[in-house]
């Protein structure tokens, strides 16, 4: 019984998901709104449970799952993202006949991510990874009458299938060489892979598998199309949630299991980090679709987080882990804000081709003042301007990079940040310095609540970073004991 208590948050999310799917069968279209509130409730109680058990450690199911500061921290990230996505989706799924499927999939996807955070075995990790992936494939194509949404899902699932195959291949190489799938077990039997071309192959295959989720160049190409085509709330889940699943999986597999091969994978990650952040920022400059711009910015942010693998000091990992939390709030919030704008555009013109075009943001400060203000803060946070979460996490990460002597990497990252300010500030310019077309639009309440929660997160981490840094530090100590 006490074992099950360790995964109580997961149980709550899973059971809530099942109830929603079942109950939806017997409910009319108009009453399905209640399901959204149920999902929000589930997320809230899971968050409360996770926070209350932050300090506990333990393992269950023959050590296939472990509970420690690292897993709890990432669960908090996933649950927080799931929470704001669920809240915003109450409006998005209003009057939709398939609302129960939507919320069920969001919760199951979150469940998969949470299990990845706890996984201590490659098989558990892979299965949980797939649970999250399959749920999000379906979510991306949720608007089945919308060609863009279907195209987005199609590309996502095809590249996803390829990446899963590569990931499995990588796992089988590792299993073949070490004859275990337990993550600590691999670390103990690593000798065979040392100085061996199979080791390099296994590393690259695993990187490709995780890099697909994290969206590292060149495994990223699905991301812009999918983020743009999928419903905004789903893009928020993908960019803010499932991307982090790739990061925690990579943390566990590389830093715990394959730490002995760090010389090899550090080179790979260094190359990927530099290419990814530069490519993401440069291409984001010329985008006119805001969702697409955010997708490329999300690449760049993944590049920054990847620096933690290259620097590999406890402080750098703290920075990387803090960054995942900060990114969850700011990117999730930004997508939700864009979702609110898309909602406004669609309400006026149902056939709008590119509802998230920059022109839709003209004069948003007048039309949707709260949304515009929140979006401005999120964009500034993404650019790394104080006093926001983005600044704090960049500060910790970049300063640890300099401390570790990798000045060249820090310089590249800071130059990249400077470039990124251009395209973030451009949206702010459209929102506040261009004349508004049309009347003031009453902002839908669920979107506002979700935005304000994300805003609170972004500002809290920026203004009072100490508790968050301490949590991230505890999580980092699990990976790399001091």
């Amino acid at each position: 019984m006490s074992d099950l208590m360790l995964i109580a948050p997961e149980l709550i999310i899973g059971i809530t998901g099942l109830i929603i799917v079942l109950a939806g069968l017997f409910m009319g279209r108009s009453s399905k709104n209640a399901l959204g509130y149920l999902a929000v409730l589930g997320c809230l109680s899971a968050i409360a449970l996770t926070i209350s058990s932050f300090a506990t450690t333990g393992s269950l199911l023959a050590e296939a799952l472990v509970i420690d500061a690292l897993s709890q921290f990432f669960k908090l990230v996933f649950l927080a993202v799931a929470l704001i996505v669920c809240i915003a989706s109450i409006k998005y799924t209003e009057g939709n006949d398939n609302a129960e499927v939507f919320f069920g999939l969001v919760l199951f996807g979150t469940l998969g991510m949470m299990f990845v955070a706890s996984a201590n075995d490659l098989i558990t990790l892979y299965v949980s990874f797939e649970l999250a992936s399959l749920s999000t494939y379906a979510l991306a194509g949720f608007e089945k009458k919308n060609a863009r949404s279907v195209e987005a899902a199609m590309k996502y699932i095809l590249i996803g299938a390829l990446s899963s195959a590569l990931l499995l291949l990588g796992i089988s190489f590792v299993y073949g060489a070490t004859s275990t799938t337990s993550i600590p077990g691999i670390a103990e039997n690593i000798d065979v892979l040392l100085n061996n071309t199979v080791g390099i192959l296994a590393i690259v295959l695993l990187i490709a598998g995780f890099g697909f989720k994290i969206a590292l160049v060149p495994f990223h190409m699905w991301a812009p199309d999918t983020y743009q085509g999928a419903p905004s709330v789903v893009s928020a889940l993908l960019a803010a949630g499932s991307k982090k699943m790739g990061i925690i999986a990579a943390f566990k597999v590389f830093i715990v299991a394959l730490i002995a091969l760090q010389a090899d994978w550090k080179i790979a990650f260094a190359a990927l980090a530099v290419v990814t952040m530069t490519y993401g920022n440069v291409v984001a400059l010329s985008q006119t679709s805001v969702k697409r711009m955010l997708a490329y910015s999300s690449l760049a942010q993944a590049g920054y987080i990847t620096m933690a693998f290259v620097v590999l000091t406890p402080m750098a990992l703290t920075g990387g882990i803090l960054y995942t939390l900060a990114h969850g709030f700011m990117k999730g919030g930004a997508f939700i804000a864009v979702g609110a704008v898309v909602y406004m555009v669609m309400a006026k013109n149902k056939d709008s081709e590119v509802p998230d075009h920059l022109d839709s943001f003209k004069g948003l400060g007048k039309k949707m003042p709260i949304t515009a203000f929140c979006l401005m803060i999120f964009l500034f946070a993404l650019a790394g301007i104080p006093p926001t979460a983005g600044f704090m996490s960049k500060f910790v990460l970049f300063s640890s990079t300099i401390e570790a002597g990798l000045v060249w990497l820090a310089v590249i990252a800071i130059l990249n940040s400077a470039i990124s300010l251009y395209y973030y500030a451009r949206v702010v310019k459209y929102m506040y310095f261009m004349p508004a077309e049309g009347e003031r639009f009453s902002e839908p309440a669920p979107y506002l609540v979700a935005l304000l929660i994300a805003l609170a997160g972004v500002l809290a981490i920026g203004i009072w970073p100490e508790p968050f840094i301490n949590m991230a530090m505890q999580a980092a100590e699990v990976l790399l004991p001091l």
Partner: protein, 670 residues
């Protein structure tokens, strides 16, 4: 619950009021004025209870500290010094807010006005109750920002916009010095703990700073050939910040221009917030000043000089608000002089200076609000167009006379009869005499006493020109509404009687701040560190010295009466362009020509723009080439994204192959 638990609400409530008024003010009557008024009223009540409690139980100083990040904290410190400031700021700000309801009733941008004044008040309150220098600096900057917004409130007027800019830039010079002082202090403190900070030690909290004073004064450095201690350097940099904020020479130039904002804003800036911040900063860090050789003397001389310098300009101004502006600068000089007198009277200096600050806040707020009342009714600032206003605005006239009596410092020595200004200004002048007697340097005393004569003259010149005689133009006018006259009446009671009832208690209360409270400072030991010789005892000044201020004040009143009421002397004989002295004063010592046009524009601006022009062209070229490359790269990379899934899969496989080759190659090389 102890009242201290509510202390955090003092700045938080006005800050909340700012947010609410800003967003919802438009929908409420009177621009949502009720929100800031309620918030500040509650803040005032809390401050008042805290102050009374502190008076009865001097040991119950409120200290709260929370870790912010690494060795820095946020916290609250309410000792006697902070408590009286909080009470004064909330009270004056409250009255000004109430008055504004009437004064701003015709302005369409009321919600913005009330939101910004609420933020202004919140920043000032948070400045006052900071328990560390960093938090104080942040609030300091917020105060600066709000003053910029409010001075430029009517930003459609070019003169208002440029006055706001001038205020912001001029005080910025001081802010940079203040920041430099903080940076120097922080690095010194880090060096003292050898880079490892003990648990729960917050470096920039005042008690920690003060406990390191002996070490700071032992550190020496050479600046421009002078050997100075770090402590002196830090305190002088802090004082630089105070010079900017509190309008001391030569950074006072922004204050008269700041009149471009609404008169209520002038009242807020000149009385309760902003300008008093500089004086408060010096008072707050007084233990550092008294331990720093030379710093207090510089504070004293600059303060005394500013007092007389501004007063001379006050006597020739024709704009009613400008006279008051120069009067503020002059009075701030007195406060600085009072603090500088710590060189002879020790911690008591804080008491007399802050007492003058508070009583000045009352009568200066009153003067501005009266001026505002006149301007509101007749629509002109120029005293030459006024005259006889007392007939149409009796309440305003009566309260203004009360304020003027306080400003000039009328009262009878050795009794309890006297205006607030009398009880607050005279001790400063007397301590200046003591300073002369102890050190042989009489300059501060002479400056202070002559400035007192001029003060009395210029303020009664204003009274006689505005309120008596026949109207010089046809201005119409009417008495102001009750929301305006009631605050006037309340303030005039304070201006007249506050000093008489509270003078001794107040000064004693505040002087104790550094003696037996939160920070236990041995002022005498510190004074030895600073090479100051504190006078053993005082209060035995010759009778003539005690009576001197009141004599010169009466003299000033009589002069003004003879010239401007009886017209016994033909003013136009002196007030002409041919009189070099008048020309000098009227042109404000050619400060505009020397400081702005010659120094700022010719030397600084033109040389910098010359240098930057060429630099700029170089950078421009680099930047445009760089951005061209980046944008071109972006456009061509964009084409990689074909939208075709087969290409995507190819990229994945190709990327993997490249990675394998890369890792393999690098490993071979290593």
């Amino acid at each position: 619950m102890p009242i201290g638990d509510f202390a955090f609400m003092i700045p938080v409530l006005p800050a909340l009021a700012f947010v609410l008024t800003f967003f919802f003010g438009k929908k409420l009557p009177q621009g949502g004025a009720i929100i800031p008024i309620t918030a500040i009223a509650v803040s005032f009540i809390i401050s008042l209870i805290i102050t009374i409690n502190l008076l009865q139980n001097p040991e119950e100083v409120i200290t709260q500290s929370y870790q912010w990040f690494s060795a820095f904290n946020v916290g609250i410190l309410i000792d006697p010094l902070a408590a009286v400031m909080l009470t004064m700021v909330t009270l004056v700000s409250l009255l000004i807010h109430i008055y504004s309801v009437g004064y701003m009733s015709h302005d369409p941008a009321k919600p913005r006005y009330f939101a910004e004044t609420a933020l202004f008040t919140a920043s000032m309150l948070s400045l006052v109750l900071s328990d560390n220098i960093l938090q104080l600096f942040i609030s300091w900057e917020l105060v600066g920002l709000c003053s910029y917004l409010l001075i430029g409130f009517w930003y459609q007027k070019p003169s208002a916009a440029s006055a706001a800019k001038k205020a912001f830039l001029t005080t910025r010079i001081g802010d940079v010095m203040f920041l430099a002082g903080i940076v120097l202090l922080t690095t010194d403190l880090f060096r003292m703990v050898n880079g490892t900070i003990p648990e729960q030690l917050y470096l920039l909290r005042f008690d920690v700073i003060f406990s390191y004073i002996p070490q700071l004064s032992a550190m020496n450095t050479t600046v421009l050939g002078f050997e100075v201690t770090h402590l002196t350097l830090i305190t002088l940099l802090f004082f630089g910040g105070a010079v900017g904020k509190s309008g001391q020479f030569p950074l006072h130039v922004w204050l008269p221009d700041a009149m471009e904002g609404p008169t209520t804003v002038s009242a807020l800036i000149h009385a309760a917030t902003m300008v008093t911040a500089g004086v408060y900063l010096v008072a707050r860090t007084f233990p550092m000043f008294i331990a720093a050789p030379g710093s207090l003397i510089i504070v004293a001389y600059l303060g005394a000089f500013t007092a007389i310098f501004a007063a001379t300009m006050g006597i020739v101004m024709n704009d009613i608000k400008r006279v008051l502006a120069y009067s503020t600068i002059s009075q701030l000089g007195y406060m600085m002089l009072g603090l500088g007198m710590g060189a002879v009277i020790g911690a008591e200096a804080v008491g007399i200076s802050i007492f003058h600050l508070v009583s000045h806040a009352f009568f200066k707020a009153l003067l501005f609000l009266c001026a505002g009342s006149v301007i509101h009714a007749v629509g002109t600032h120029d005293m030459r167009e006024l005259g006889g206003v007392a007939k149409v605005m009796p309440i305003t006239a009566a309260t203004m006379v009360a304020a003027s009596l306080a400003l000039a410092g009328f009262g009878i020595p050795k009794t309890i009869i006297g205006t607030s200004g009398f009880f607050s200004k005279d001790p400063i002048i007397e301590s200046a005499y003591l300073f002369g007697a102890e050190s042989g340097s009489w300059l501060p005393y002479i400056f202070a006493i002559v400035a007192a004569l001029l003060t009395s003259f210029y303020i009664f010149r204003l009274i006689f020109m505005t309120f008596t005689g026949e109207p010089r133009t046809d201005y119409g006018g009417h008495e102001s509404p009750a929301t305006m006259t009631v605050p006037l009446a309340i303030l005039s009671i304070f201006a007249l009687f506050f000093g008489a009832i509270s003078s001794e208690t107040f000064k004693h209360f505040v002087s104790e701040t550094f003696v037996n409270n939160f920070v236990h400072m041995d002022i005498h030991a510190l004074a030895e560190l600073g090479h100051y010789e504190l006078a053993a005892g005082h209060g035995h000044e010759p009778l003539l010295i005690v009576w001197m201020p009141i004599i010169v004040a009466t003299l000033g009143l009589l002069l003004a009466y003879v010239i401007y009421y009886q017209k016994a002397v033909d003013v136009s004989r002196f007030v002409t362009r041919d009189n070099p002295l008048y020309r000098l004063l009227y042109n404000r010592y050619y400060q505009n020509e020397i400081l702005t046009e010659f120094f700022a524009v010719k030397i600084v601006y033109e040389s910098i723009s010359m240098a930057t022009y060429y630099l700029d062209r170089g950078f421009d070229w680099i930047v445009s080439v760089l951005s061209y490359i980046v944008f071109e790269a972006g456009d061509s990379f964009r084409k990689v994204q074909t939208g075709n899934v087969r290409h995507y899969a190819t990229a994945v496989v190709l990327g993997m192959s490249l990675l394998v080759v890369l890792v393999k190659l690098v490993m071979e090389v290593i």
